[in-house]
């Protein structure tokens, strides 16, 4: 469903993403992890057609995002870490707008269902300025899901959500995956990635360090079978070679533990 071949993005001479290749099949949830500045958001932006790749190819549902952007974009939804909404459109007007853009004839039924599911049906006539951050996030999700996308990208999906919101978001992601959507989640929350992702791709300095199922990744980075969690894998995979840096940062001194 998502095929990436040799994706490279340069900003001037700075290489943000370097020769990245991977694919995500329908029903798969891939976790995109890496330290700050690894190129995760740039990758997602290239994958969603927001910025053009400098080199390489991205195909969404068989459509090249550069050559056939309309067909590719019709199949995808991109949820940014900060909900991006129009400040003068109400909740329902957002759905109405998206419905026309994506040509969703029965948007009223689907939209009402999504608002119910996301528990913001009572905010139908509210402007974004009247919504909490979590509610804004829910509205952005409702807009993104209105056209039933087959490919979904999440950039830090749990930011600003309360515990119940986090639980619902995880359930929602898994539900979409079970329905056949190919999903990529970029997050620093390794426990989230560990919990819901069937595959993991670790990025560092724009390059792929490893890509595979959690088992495959664990196998590569563990010293003994079963001794490693994703957090340790992450530190091992992203530590600088030859620095003798500890795999996991040392705990805080006694009395400063949080």
């Amino acid at each position: 469903m998502i095929q990436v071949e040799g994706l490279t993005k340069l900003y001037g001479e700075f290489v943000a993403v370097n020769e990245l290749s991977f694919s995500v099949q329908p029903g798969e949830v891939m976790g995109l992890v890496g330290p700050n500045g690894a190129g995760k958001t740039t990758t997602l932006r290239c994958l969603s057609g927001i910025i053009p790749p400098t080199r390489g190819a991205v195909r969404v549902g068989g459509h090249d995002i550069v050559r056939d952007p309309i067909a590719a974009k019709k199949q995808l939804a991109f949820f940014t870490d900060e909900p991006r909404l129009f400040d003068y459109l109400t909740v329902w007007q957002h759905l109405n707008f998206v419905a026309r853009i994506y040509q969703v004839p029965d948007y009223e039924r689907i939209g009402a269902g999504l608002l119910e599911e996301l528990e913001i049906a009572n905010k139908r006539d509210a402007l974004p300025g009247e919504l909490s951050r979590g509610m804004k996030q829910k509205l952005a999700i409702a807009c993104g899901l209105l056209h039933s996308p087959k490919v979904i990208y999440f950039d830090e999906p749990l930011t600003g959500l309360d515990p119940l919101g986090i639980r619902r978001m995880k359930d929602s992601i898994l539900k979409r995956a079970r329905a056949g959507a190919a999903i990529i989640i970029s997050s620093h929350l390794l426990h989230l990635v560990e919990e819901i992702c069937s595959r993991i791709l670790i990025l560092k300095n724009g390059r792929k360090v490893i890509d595979g199922t959690l088992e495959e990744v664990t196998r590569k980075f563990s010293e003994q079978p079963g001794d490693t969690n994703l957090e340790e894998i992450f530190f091992r995979a992203t530590s600088e070679p030859g620095t003798n840096a500890p795999a996991v940062p040392p705990p805080l001194p006694h009395g400063n533990e949080r």
Partner: protein, 581 residues
């Protein structure tokens, strides 16, 4: 403790200045700074401090007689009086010192006394006051006088007013705490002002000889009367403190300035003591004010200047948007909702009513040709201004939506479709306003002197056809500019300020004018060609609308190409590159 606050203020100012200087390494800021600097020098600085040696003359150099100075002082005092009265009437909120959210986060939980916070606020406001004083001096100096005296005079006036506003807000809070509502306070202040006005009026009626009906047309006679009323009797004493504040600014020389300075400084000091010793809780209201400020700044940084000052309200769409049909209509629908924040249907109804009433009124006075001519000139001027200012004021297009460019880029639409949808709303609104004006103008034509009704109607018809396409073209240019040079246009994140930003805007304005002239050239050629041909065969009444139609066709072709080009620009627009530049 105050030293820490001084440290903060100093470093905020210094770092801001350093970052401004550092960004001059980028050619776009350097060129802007040079052009902006030349502009400020040419129009203001060369008249400041340096005098007028070398044969240069100030644009106007007034010399005032003592009587005129007294009159100016009185009017200045009257203006200050009105400002102060309004400060006691209009505001309704509790006292709030405006801090940034960071200042609230760091200073409010810190062991800083309330008095120190006030000192900090006063200190910080001095930056703005000094800058405003300099700016006002640049203007006031152009009519003559000593620059230093002007600068110090402005500073004293603004600083005293600033302290008074703060003191009034503290007093307002104290009154609210004592159960005196805003309404009661306003009634009391208005009652007091009314009593003073009645007192002065009765005194003037009994003492000062009134104006004869002939005098009411003589400006000097009115001035003399105003001077007599204001310089003798109660008004003189009522306005006395305000005159003390204005007097240093108007001092003709250093001796007069120092003589006027002492009482003005005493007033300033009294205000300072009032503010410092007023023990009023302002923290809670300040937190709220800082949040509002943050929202406003965020709106401005997001390019939403029009919505920055007020709370958005949900608006009813201008038309029903179905789920199927051309996708650019969705963008038009969305942007009209944005325009609706300013141009609500209610405003349109009011505008239409005004137009109808104006039309009827003009019909009634149609027998007075001068009035009809004047009204026609006003309408023509309004149409001209709509072309000049309309595209700058109606910004519900890329200039507003550029901060959401990443969202627009994920939409499954071609670049030209997004460009078309983005530009439609301001074109539609501007054309509607112009058609309303043309409607009034067409009604007026029958009351104009002479026998040119048919020709004027032909011109109005031609304008009605031409204007929407012309608006389209006028709006395409700034939209293309914002995609080509986003940081040069007043939109997006961190829009630049300062002399270099002024220079950038000047360059952009000149560039846009040049592009417009080039774009208009083929249409003008088409108009002139068709007009001359048809004028010979059919006469001007038929030639004007047909020539306008020919020009419209040319402009429409350009506008169509322009939308395609704008779409290409949007497709190539790299959000990340702009943010990282």
């Amino acid at each position: 403790m105050i030293s820490a606050l001084l440290y903060l203020q100093y470093h905020v100012f210094r770092n801001r200045l350093v970052s401004r200087v550092k960004r001059l390494k980028q050619p776009k800021y350097l060129i802007g700074a040079i052009v902006g600097g030349l502009y400020f020098y040419w129009y203001f600085f060369r008249y400041l401090f340096g005098g007028y040696a070398g044969g240069r003359q100030p644009p106007v150099n007034f010399t005032f007689s003592p009587e005129h100075l007294q009159l100016i002082e009185l009017f200045g005092a009257l203006v200050l009086f009105v400002i102060v009265v309004l400060a006691w009437i209009i505001p309704r909120e509790r006292a709030a010192l405006t801090f940034t959210e960071a200042e609230v986060a760091f200073l409010f939980p810190a062991p800083v006394t309330r008095r120190n916070l006030i000192h900090f606020k006063l200190l910080r406001s001095q930056l703005g006051i000094l800058f405003t004083s300099l700016l006002l001096t640049l203007f006031s100096r152009r009519i003559g006088g000593n620059a230093l005296i002007h600068a110090l005079g402005w500073w004293l006036m603004l600083s005293t007013l600033n302290l008074h506003f703060l003191g009034a807000s503290f007093a307002r809070t104290m009154l609210l705490d004592r159960g005196i509502s805003n309404r009661l306070r306003r009634l009391l202040v208005l009652g007091l002002v009314a009593a003073m006005a009645v007192f002065v009026w009765i005194w003037a009626k009994r003492t000062v000889p009134g104006l004869s009906s002939a005098d009411t047309t003589d400006f000097n006679a009115i001035l003399d009367y105003a001077q007599r009323v204001l310089t003798v009797g109660p008004a003189l004493y009522l306005l006395y403190p305000f005159r003390l504040v204005v007097r240093p600014f108007l001092a003709p020389d250093a001796t007069a300035f120092f003589a006027a300075l002492a009482p003005a400084l005493l007033l300033f000091l009294l205000h300072y003591l009032w503010v410092i010793y007023a023990d009023v809780a302002f923290e809670e209201a300040s937190v709220e004010a800082s949040q509002k400020l943050a929202v406003r700044l965020a709106a401005i940084r997001a390019g939403n200047w029009q919505g920055a000052g007020k709370k958005q309200k949900a608006k009813r769409p201008w038309f029903r948007l179905t789920a199927t049909g051309p996708a650019p209509t969705a963008l038009l629908w969305k942007n009209l909702l944005g325009v609706g924040q300013v141009f609500s249907p209610r405003l349109w109804i009011i505008l239409f009513t005004v137009v109808v009433i104006l039309g009827i009124s003009l019909g009634n006075i149609g027998h007075r040709p001068n009035v009809s001519v004047m009204a026609a000139i006003l309408i023509a001027a309004a149409l001209g201004y709509s072309l000049l200012l309309g595209p700058q004021l109606l910004r519900q297009d890329f200039r507003h939506d550029l901060p959401l460019a990443d969202v627009l880029k994920t939409l499954p639409l071609r670049g030209w479709q997004i460009a078309l949808g983005e530009i439609l709303a301001p074109v539609a609104v501007l054309a509607a306003i112009q058609w309303l004006l043309l409607l009034v103008g067409a009604g007026l034509i029958f009351y104009l002197p002479g026998k040119y009704e048919a020709l004027f109607l032909a011109i109005a018809l031609g304008a009605a056809v031409l204007l929407p396409v012309l608006d389209w073209l006028l709006l395409l240019i700034p939209n293309a500019a914002v995609l080509l040079f986003p940081s040069w246009i007043q939109t997006g994140k961190d829009s630049p300020r300062g002399i270099e930003a002024t220079g950038q805007r000047l360059i952009m304005a000149l560039g846009q004018l040049l592009v417009l002239l080039l774009a208009l050239l083929p249409a003008a050629v088409a108009f002139v060609g068709v007009f001359f041909l048809l004028n010979l065969a059919l006469g001007p009444v038929a030639a004007v609308p047909l020539a306008s139609l020919a020009a419209t066709v040319v402009l429409a072709a350009e506008a169509g190409l322009g939308v395609m080009l704008l779409g290409m620009l949007f497709e190539r627009f790299d959000v990340t590159e702009e943010h990282t530049s």
